[in-house]
Amino acid sequence: MAVSTETLEQVNSISGDGYKHGFVTDIEQESAPKGLNEDTIRFISAKKDEPEWMLEWRLKAYRYWLTMPEPEWAKVDFSPIDYQDAYYFSAPKSDAEKPKNLDEVDPKLLETYEKLGIPLREQEVLAGIAVDAVFDSVSVATTYKKKLEEVGVIFCSFSEAVQEHPELVKKYLGSVVPYADNKHACLNCAVFTDGSFVYIPKGVRCPMELSTYFRINAENTGQFERTLIIADEGSYVSYLEGCTAPQRDEHQLHAAVVELVALDDAEIKYSTVQNWYPGDEEGRGGIYNFVTKRGACRGNNSKIAWTQVETGSAITWKYPSCLLMGDNSVGEFYSVAITANRQQADTGTKMIHIGKNTRSTIISKGISAGRADQSYRGLVKVMASAEGARNFTQCDSLLIGDQCGAHTVPYIETSNPSARVEHEATTAKISEDQLFYCSQRGLSTEEAVSVIVNGFCKEVMKTLPMEFAVEAQKLIGISLEGSVG
């Protein structure tokens, strides 16, 4: 039931309020056709029933995107992305199409869930079992939401926020990562599907860790996820993104954008565990994880801490960063990046010191195995206004085997003589002696590598919220299976 463009243009000019379904494709279809053009964007926006301003915002970004060159400066190798060879909106699966119970799920997937110690109920949710068959999860989510409502915390999908809290979204969206920032962020602005929206009111300490796990009905979230978290004065929130369970997705490019805003005396703790499909042993078919994450410490005495455990994806390209604008603001970045087989990673952070007496801490642990390659790329920038800025950076690399690579590319730019910036770096190999010692105490090779690597990553792991930390430790062991011997 296609409508011709000409007819729509006529209607547009008559109705005056901007008929948003101005495109050729039939919106009764469940999925957008392959490829990317203005129609695709209108389709997405219409499907989500977005207000006009949201669609305009998307289109503005898309038009600018068309003018941007591909960034090529990272130390990662991949064949050029064909942006037309992808679907930008797929319909969620109907309950009828979903598996009814775990027996219908790929046994290899279940095996990994077991190794990670994921409880049965959670496995069902992860495997996409029809929600009404997972009673516990639904009731848990409901209780969860009630608690948050009691204290005024808003935690919903980004799409919902556009409908229910447009004033907040309009105020902060794009204020930390503007659409022109980089090509992948720009694409996200045009075609983002969904993500999280969090608002913590003044003086509220969010009573529980917010986790994406509780957005059970989240569909299409991996591809171009858009998240916005606002911590009002004196508030605190800890947010967990991702999960240790391996996730497959038919979309190869993941270009998420996460914006955090912390006002006076507020604190945001953002933890990520990423285990997207890394591709086969030759690196074929894995996910490209090109993410832009940035936090603005706008208020005085505000604090933003990023912790990430990146074990998946064929290519990881991301720099969770902090803009330390408020006086006495604090930015922290803790990272464990594991690359094995043919994975590649170019990751790090940017700490921009702007206000007075700002502090930043960077602890990066990179583990490379197989024929993988990874780089830590960091920027510590102290602006002229940043009186008394302090930074401590520690990057440690651990190499397993003799065919992998680990690189460190630190940038330090200071324009204020009172700044103190410290940088330490170490590179090591897992020694035969350590492995032999562990084996002689009865540990299998796998257990030995896991123990040694977890020890290496300890400083970062202890910044993770408890529930994540236990799973993440197991994940680290599993990611390196078969790397030694």
């Binding site: 084996s439 002689q440 105490r441 009865g442 020890g455 290496f456």
Partner: protein
């Protein structure tokens, strides 16, 4: 049945033959000592028994509790009850001693069909054994061997022995680098682990350790072979006369 039976064991390292036919039998409950000059093959013997890579057995066999030890992987040997107290224990940064020990103990317990100990149970268990070796909670929390003095490392090895309760332990120059007080503590710790079901092979240069850990038999290792065996008096004789006087027996 003997716990350990070594028959005509030959081993090479980097293409050079170090062990040239070792015959040794140790019964359950016995403590044997091996003494010998540098380069005689003492450490090689301990690594071959533990199963270290790079140490190639060219002929001979070793039976451990009736099983073919040489066919077992390093960790399998360990879980079956074989322990090597290293001469130079390695450091493992970021891994607390208790964490490491708990993983090892539970691996052995699983092999024996016993349930794993949880954190609380394990802590109680390890504290009992640690107290006797003058190892306090603080040391238990530190990363394994990181920044430990020589004496602390050796005491830690004995703690691991106490906690893993192996059937057969090889102590590779456990006395090296120890002062008199530390030596006494380590020796007491080792003696406390002697039992009818357990055996030990003590490798040492000096007779002094054997004053504290009295052996049932002493063997002199030279040129990759055991050239003489005897009771504890042999160690005293060796100390008095030196290795050279026994070298003549090598030809035999």
């Amino acid at each position: 049945m003997s716990l350990i039976e070594i028959c005509d064991l030959h081993a090479t390292v980097d293409g050079k033959e170090i062990l040239k036919g070792i015959d040794l039998t140790i019964d359950a409950g016995e403590v044997h000592a091996i003494m010998g000059p540098n380069g005689s093959g003492k450490s090689t013997l301990s690594y071959v028994l533990a199963g270290r890579d790079g140490y190639e057995v060219t002929s001979g066999q070793v039976l451990f509790d009736g099983q073919n030890l040489l066919e077992m992987a390093v960790d399998e040997r360990a879980r079956s009850g074989m322990f090597l107290a290293f001469q130079y224990p390695v450091e493992i940064p970021g891994v607390a001693t208790t964490t490491f020990l708990k993983t090892a103990v539970n691996a052995v317990r699983e092999h024996r069909g016993e349930g794993a100990l949880d954190a609380m149970q394990f802590l109680k268990f390890v504290r009992e054994k640690a107290g006797a070796l003058n190892i306090n909670d603080d040391m238990l929390r530190r990363a394994l061997n990181v920044g430990f003095s020589g004496g602390e490392k050796k005491r830690n090895e004995v703690l691991q022995m106490a906690v893993l309760e192996p059937k057969f332990s090889v102590l590779d120059e456990t006395d090296s680098g120890l002062d008199i007080d530390a030596l006494k503590i380590v020796a007491d710790g080792v003696n406390a682990l002697r039992g009818a079901e357990r055996s030990m092979l003590i490798i040492t240069h000096y007779q002094r350790l054997l004053d504290h850990i009295v052996p049932d038999q002493v063997h002199i290792l030279a040129g990759g072979k055991i050239i003489q065996s005897g009771d504890k008096m042999l160690a005293l004789e060796l100390e008095e006369k030196g290795y050279a006087s026994f070298a003549g027996a090598e030809a035999a």
